[in-house]
C-alpha cells in the first residue's frame, strides 16, 4: 500500500488527540468523586450528609420514656395526641442529658393562646376563644389543666 504523503502529521495529530483524551480522563478522575452516579446524577455521599444533621426535637416517644405519668394524665383528653414539644419546645438536649439541659415550663399566659385564640380562618368546631371575653384576664390554668384541659 502506498504511503500517505502527510502520514507523519496525521500521526502527530493522533498522538496529540490521545494525549488530550488521557488528560481529560485524568482530570475527570481527579474532579469527580468516586461515589458520583451510584444512585443517579449526584454524589451518593450527599444522602449521608443530609442524614447527619443534629436533632433538636426528641420526639414524644423519648419524652414518654421518663415522663410516663404525664402520658397517663393525658389519656382520654383532647390533648392526648398533641406532641409534647408542640408546647414545651425542642428538648432533644434535655432528653440526652436531663441534668445538663433543664426543660423550661412553658408560659401559661401565652402557650395556650397560640392555638386557642379565635380566628375566622380556623376550622369550624375548633375550641378557640377571644381570651379577654372568655376569661377576663384570668390565666387559663386556673380552670383548665394543660395536660387534660376538659373541665369535669
Amino acid at each position: 500500500m502506498e504511503r500517505f504523503r502527510d502520514q507523519e502529521h496525521l500521526l502527530r495529530l493522533a498522538g496529540l488527540f490521545a494525549a488530550g483524551f488521557a488528560l481529560f480522563l485524568v482530570v475527570r478522575w481527579v474532579l469527580i468523586p468516586g461515589d458520583f452516579g451510584v444512585y443517579g446524577h449526584f454524589r451518593a455521599g450527599a444522602v449521608a450528609d443530609n442524614a447527619a444533621r443534629p436533632l433538636r426535637y426528641a420526639g414524644r416517644q423519648a419524652c414518654g420514656d421518663c415522663h410516663g405519668e404525664i402520658l397517663e394524665a393525658r389519656k382520654g383528653s383532647r390533648h392526648e395526641e398533641v406532641g409534647c414539644e408542640a408546647c414545651h419546645g425542642p428538648l432533644r438536649a434535655h432528653a440526652e442529658d436531663p441534668e445538663a439541659a433543664k426543660a423550661q415550663k412553658p408560659d401559661g399566659g401565652k402557650v395556650c393562646l397560640v392555638c386557642h385564640t379565635a380566628n375566622v380562618a380556623k376550622p369550624e368546631g375548633f375550641p378557640a376563644v377571644e381570651p379577654k371575653e372568655h376569661a377576663g384576664g384570668e390565666p387559663c390554668g386556673s380552670c383548665h389543666k394543660p395536660h387534660h384541659p376538659e373541665i369535669s
Binding site: 444522602v47 408542640a86 397560640v114
Partner: protein, 254 residues
C-alpha cells in the same frame, strides 16, 4: 513461551474483571446506608405527606419547629415550610386574597370578619417531594436530586447557587441561604426520618393536620388517608409526581 503468555493474559484479564466487579459491589454496599442509621435501608421506604386542610389552625408551630430543627435563617422570606391564609369572597372567588405574615411564624393576627359571606382557611405548604421534580431536572451540576426513598435533597457542597431550581420549582419551595449562597429547601427532616422519628413539623403539629407517611409500609396510616378521603395534589396539571396529598383542598389554592 507462547502458552504461558496466553495463560498469563487470561489470568490477569479475569483478575481485573473480578476486582472491578467487587469494587462496584462494595461501593453499593457502602453507599446503601446513610450515616449513623445502620438499620435504615433506602429501598424499603417511599416517603409522602398527608395534609388535612380542615385540621390546620394556623398556629405556626410547624414553621417555628422547622426553623429550629433545620437552622433556617430567622428573617422573613426564608422558609422550608410556611402557612398561607386564604380569603375567598363570594363576589370574586377567582381571585382569593392570600397572606402569610412572616410565613405564619408569629401566628395570624385577625384580619377578616366573620359572617361577611367569605370563606377563610389556612393551607400548610412545604416541598412536595415530587417523584419527577422540575427542580432536579434543571440542576446543571447534580447538586439536587431525588433519593431512592423519595426525598428531594440538596448537596450543599456541590451547589453553585445558580438559582435555576429556585425558578423551576412551581410551588416556591426553595430559597438561597444568605449565609452560604447555596440553595436550601425542606429535606423532609431526612436526619430524623432515617432514625425512625417523624419530621419536626409533624411532631409539633397539635391537630394532626400534617403526617408523614411511608407508602412502602403497608401498615402506615397514610394508605387509609389516601383510600378513605378525596385527596388532591397542588398543580396536578404539571405532572410533577407530587407526594404531598391534601385533603379538603379548595380549588382556589395554587
Amino acid at each position: 513461551m507462547e502458552e504461558t503468555r496466553r495463560q498469563f493474559l487470561k489470568q490477569s484479564g479475569v483478575t481485573v474483571l473480578l476486582t472491578g466487579a467487587a469494587a462496584l459491589a462494595w461501593d453499593h454496599l457502602l453507599a446503601g446506608e446513610p450515616e449513623k442509621a445502620p438499620n435504615y435501608k433506602m429501598a424499603d421506604h417511599w416517603w409522602a405527606l398527608a395534609l388535612d386542610v380542615e385540621k390546620c389552625i394556623g398556629c405556626g408551630n410547624c414553621v417555628r419547629a422547622c426553623k429550629a430543627e433545620n437552622d433556617v435563617p430567622l428573617e422573613p422570606f426564608y422558609f422550608r415550610t410556611w402557612v398561607e391564609r386564604y380569603h375567598v369572597t363570594e363576589e370574586d372567588p377567582e381571585h382569593p386574597q392570600v397572606d402569610s405574615p412572616n410565613g405564619g411564624y408569629d401566628g395570624f393576627p385577625e384580619r377578616y370578619r366573620a359572617g361577611d359571606g367569605s370563606k377563610n382557611f389556612f393551607v400548610p405548604k412545604l416541598c412536595n417531594h415530587c417523584a419527577h421534580s422540575p427542580c432536579v431536572q434543571v440542576c446543571p451540576v447534580g447538586a439536587t436530586f431525588e433519593t431512592p426513598d423519595g426525598v428531594v435533597l440538596v448537596d450543599k457542597s456541590y451547589c453553585l447557587g445558580c438559582r435555576y431550581c429556585v425558578q423551576a420549582c412551581p410551588y416556591g419551595c426553595r430559597f438561597i441561604d444568605p449565609r452560604t449562597q447555596t440553595v436550601d429547601k425542606c429535606s423532609l427532616c431526612y436526619h430524623r426520618i432515617t432514625k425512625g422519628l417523624t419530621t419536626a413539623c409533624c411532631e409539633t403539629c397539635p391537630t394532626g393536620a400534617r403526617t408523614l407517611g411511608d407508602l412502602k409500609d403497608p401498615r402506615d396510616p397514610i394508605h387509609e388517608f389516601l383510600s378513605k378521603n378525596k385527596v388532591h395534589v397542588l398543580k396536578p396539571q404539571l405532572a410533577t409526581g407530587s407526594k404531598a396529598f391534601y385533603k379538603g383542598l379548595d380549588g382556589t389554592v395554587r
